[in-house]
């Protein structure tokens, strides 16, 4: 595997110029995820209005893959209805698990597909997406958005 197979241009671009970085003033979804193998932390925040993700942001620190993936996630999710967002999440996680199929609808997020061949880096790529997934389900079950720091283990994949 070459460097270019892993660090695709889209990944390097999102790493260098992250989209959706920052925090929201009154988020209804807040989820703080931590990768215990490397110490990376990402907090995902989102606002939902009329069943649509009106805005989504991420903050924290981590490697190029985790930061680029979080940035791509915010672009992919903004404006989606909750069912659409969940479908995209499922599609993304399926791609990262290496399930066969077409992932064209994921657009530039497909750049992360190469990472699915690096088991150790998989968690970096999925951290922000898992954070949103848990945040969404907490929101739907009416839980308070500010929970404790949650640790995502590999079994979460």
């Amino acid at each position: 595997m070459s460097l270019e197979d892993i660090y695709k241009d889209a990944i390097m671009d999102h790493y260098a110029r992250p989209r959706g970085r920052g925090k929201l003033e009154h988020p209804v979804i807040v989820y703080h995820a931590h990768n215990p193998t490397c110490g990376d932390e990402i907090e995902v925040q989102a606002n939902v209005e009329d069943g649509r993700i009106q805005d989504v942001r991420f903050s924290g620190h981590g490697c190029s893959i985790s930061q680029a993936s979080a940035s791509m996630m915010t672009v992919a999710m903004k404006g989606k209805t909750l069912p659409e967002a969940k479908a995209t999440l499922a599609k993304f996680l399926g791609m990262m698990r290496g399930e066969p199929g077409s992932y064209k609808e994921l657009g530039e997020v497909q750049a992360l597909q190469g990472v699915s061949r690096l088991p150790v880096r998989l968690k970096c790529a999925t951290l922000a997406w898992h954070a949103l997934e848990v945040g969404l389900s907490q929101h739907e079950s009416g839980q308070s958005p500010r929970g404790p720091v949650h640790v995502l283990e590999s079994k979460d994949l």
Binding site: S2, L3, Y7, M12, C38, G39, G62, C63, I65, R121
Partner: protein
């Protein structure tokens, strides 16, 4: 001087290519590779002598027992223990330290007692003592560290006091490479009546260690970090201390007499080896010790010292390279960061050049906090590494820097 070219021929794993490049294995602080001699010893045992130890009367059982105990004898001589009664086989350093925590510390420590630890410990020599403190009411105290990664020694007398019952310290840091002044710490601890348990996971494989010269109470180390297989470790203990301790695991092998309601324990060291032990693992470790003895531990240590000095000189010339830990005295490893490039990215890029290093907190999160980093890279050397490996590492780091130059 070690003949690295000859040594490499003994390691079957070394010949391979990773992503099209010859493997450069620099993750020896995590685990070392195994020479043909160790692999063969394990295979030979299973092919010619496999049986359970210490019970059968048939020929194979005698042969297996003899080889298992011969391995213990090799360990005994390697660390200059007074007798094989002092040498307990465990799974690894973590288990060895847990034996001391459960069988000695939990039995004897009381509220008001103090356990002295350092902030540079591997989790395996910190978390067991946190648990002992929790269960006995004893308090943890920490030796301070100087900015250069050495332990502060001028105020040791204020930390190791009459209240101290146990000092738990690593002989060599798995991140900073710091070699700690164990002799001085032991002297001070013994003056106040405290015991000392030393984590030798990163020292026994790399420097000559003499438990009697160092006057250690306990020493823990792992076989897999010194050419041996995984799943075999050692706890050395002073005989009077081992006698005072209760067994950690109960069951077969560790008993002398069993009645329906009670039982009596075997003699040392078997009292601490419940159940069928890792016989092949012990034999493999014995073969690893033979291999290291043939090289000479002084030569191993000199080789690594030369290599790490060369590595520091070579790597510090790279723009953005930041070394952690002292320059002297230092074990054969370098922890570093490369500008703002995340260690996981560095390790991934290096892997595409066939260079295996570790990235992360190296099971020492409090130390990472102390260094104010979430993660570092670590290249760690052993007997089969040479200057050419360092050169490959250096040029791969330069390429990593270039690759990330427009973003980090």
């Amino acid at each position: 001087m070690l003949n690295v070219a000859d040594i490499r021929k003994d390691f079957p794993i070394m010949g391979q290519k990773v992503h099209g490049h010859p493997l450069v294995y620099l993750d020896n602080a995590a685990t070392t590779q195994k020479p043909r001699q160790v692999i063969d010893a394990i295979v030979r045992y299973y092919e010619t002598s496999n049986a359970n130890v210490h019970r059968g009367v048939h020929t194979l059982a005698e042969r297996a027992t003899e080889q298992y105990e011969e391995a213990r004898e090799k360990v005994t001589r390697f660390i200059n223990a007074p007798s094989r009664r002092n040498v307990i086989f465990t799974r690894n350093s973590s288990e060895s330290l847990n034996v001391v925590a459960y069988s000695w510390a939990r039995k004897f420590l009381k509220p008001g007692d103090e356990i002295v630890v350092t902030p540079m410990e591997h989790h395996s020599n910190l978390v067991p003592w946190q648990q002992v403190a929790l269960h006995t009411g004893a308090k943890l105290r920490f030796i301070e560290m100087l900015p250069n990664g050495l332990l502060r020694t001028d105020n040791l007398g204020e930390i190791i006091t009459e209240k101290t019952r146990l000092v738990a310290v690593t002989q060599a840091s798995n991140v900073l490479g710091t070699i700690n002044p164990v002799t001085g710490i032991v002297r001070l601890a013994h003056q106040v009546g405290a015991k000392v348990v030393v984590d030798g996971a990163q020292s026994v494989p790399h420097i000559p260690v003499d438990v009697q010269a160092l006057d250690l109470d306990w020493l823990a180390f792992s076989g897999h970090k010194m050419l041996g297989p995984t799943g075999i470790g050692v706890l050395y203990g002073r005989e009077d201390l081992l006698d005072s301790m209760d067994p950690f695991l109960f069951g077969g092998e560790m008993i002398s007499r069993v009645y329906l309601e009670c039982a009596e324990w075997s003699e040392l060291p078997h009292k601490f080896e419940a159940g069928t032990p890792n016989i092949a693992g012990a034999i493999g470790l014995g073969a690893a010790i033979d291999y290291l003895n043939q090289l000479g531990m002084k030569n191993v240590s000199d080789h690594e010292q030369r290599l790490v000095r060369y590595a520091i000189e070579r790597l510090e010339a790279i723009d953005g390279f930041r070394l952690y830990g002292p320059k002297e005295p230092r074990g054969g490893l370098v922890a570093f960061n490369l500008g703002d490039v995340h260690p996981h990215d560095v390790a991934t890029v290096l892997d595409t050049y066939g260079v295996a290093i570790r990235a992360g907190h190296h099971c020492a999160q409090p130390l990472a906090n102390w260094l104010d980093v979430t993660a570092t890279n670590r290249a760690s050397f052993y007997i089969y590494n040479d200057e050419a490996d360092v050169d490959t590492l250096a040029s791969a780091l330069v390429k990593t820097k270039e690759f990330f130059s427009h973003v980090a």
